[in-house]
Amino acid sequence: MEVLSVENLKVKLEGREVLKGINFSIKYGEKVFITGPNGAGKTTFLETVMGFIPFTGRISFRGKLLKRERDFEEVREKIGYVFQNPDDQLFAPTVEEELAFAPLVKGLKREEVKRIVEITLREFEIEHLREKPTYKLSGGEKRIVSVACVVTMEPEVILLDEPTTGLDRKRWEKLVAFFEKSRSSLVVVTHDTKLMERLGWKRYVMEDGKLCSA
């Protein structure tokens, strides 16, 4: 069963056709890579699926067609998005609050939020960073926190934009372990060949606004 599917997706930005008719779909629990040169449209693709960029074509989530902003608002808490640059993504005062943001927005009870935050802090081994302001984190720590704060949302699909950039060996392994264990569908945009070889998921290549399976 497909959780997310995209048909003939086209995007024009400042008069230039950035996405030229993309077809893509992913099943529940399926995990894939998207690779390709810089400027090919990978980030634009993820942002369009999130409903941040006007498009033509069809995007559907769990079989429901998403057209207007309202439709996207309803499904965003089920589609996680990890930004390419964690500095753009993290805005809460501390790591703990960053992780608590999504479940609080969902309207979960305090105790429930606390439970989810604790589990996630432990899962990514960042309990010691709990009260640290996010701007004081190191590059690798920011990267991990930016993944963790999406995980607490418990999304069915997670889109990740170059999540392994700048990670040290230990955190890289941590992230790989999370990828293997996760029950969400994952779309990972990456240049990290080691990561792709290690996990061996299906690979797509984005080139000049077109997506094809490798």
Binding site: P93, T94, E97, E131, P133, Y135, K136
Partner: protein
């Protein structure tokens, strides 16, 4: 709310410019070296933030943020808001040049009052005192600005009493929303462990 061009009588515009010139003198004297880019960028941040629509009930409001700006900037709030209002006039034609003196004073002077009122609370730094500081900064900033605005409107003539009344009332929802948001901003700054004093 910023007063538009052509609304106030000449003497009122003149008094506004004199008061603002005094505030600018004191404010500019207090900023040197690295405080110049800092004041400018905070001013730009307040400019951008005041363009956000914040929902309240069936409608939405723009924030004034002059109390918050005052609490962080002290007397430098005069040049900071002067520059922000000048750019609003040039880029969007909100407010205007002849009323720039009055509008700056209306916003910045309550900011300075908020600065002196809120400082001790911020220094104490407990959660309760930060929330109190947020509420106080909003109430002083918004209501004092609304009071000045209404008094100036009444200065035009007796036919403006109703206009002034309504203008004042329109600020109540802004003050309420801003009180909550300010408190969260102070808590945020405290948790991030940064002293934003200029």
């Amino acid at each position: 709310m910023h007063i538009s061009e052509g609304v106030l009588p000449g003497w009122c515009l003149g008094v506004g410019w004199v008061l603002t010139a005094g505030g600018l003198y004191l404010g500019l004297r207090s900023i040197k070296g690295e405080k110049i880019p800092r004041t400018a960028l905070l001013s730009a941040a307040f400019f951008i933030a005041s363009l956000i629509h914040v929902p309240i009930g069936v409608t939405s409001v723009h924030l004034l943020l002059n109390g918050l700006a005052g609490a962080l900037l002290g007397w430098a709030v005069f040049p900071a808001l002067f520059v922000a209002l000048l750019f609003q006039a040039i880029l969007f034609q909100f407010g205007g040049i002849t009323v720039l003196g009055v509008n700056t004073f209306n916003m910045a002077f309550p900011g300075v009052v908020a600065y002196y009122a809120v400082r001790p609370l911020l220094r104490r730094g407990t959660t309760g005192s930060l929330i109190a500081a947020g509420v106080l900064a909003a109430l002083i900033g918004v209501f004092l600005a609304a009071t000045f605005l209404s008094l100036e409107l009444i200065c035009i003539g007796s036919s403006f009493i109703k206009t002034a009344e309504l203008a004042f009332l329109a600020h109540i929802p802004v003050a309420a929303v801003e009180a909550i948001i300010n408190s969260f901003v102070f808590l945020y700054l405290k948790k991030s462990g940064i002293k934003l004093e200029v």
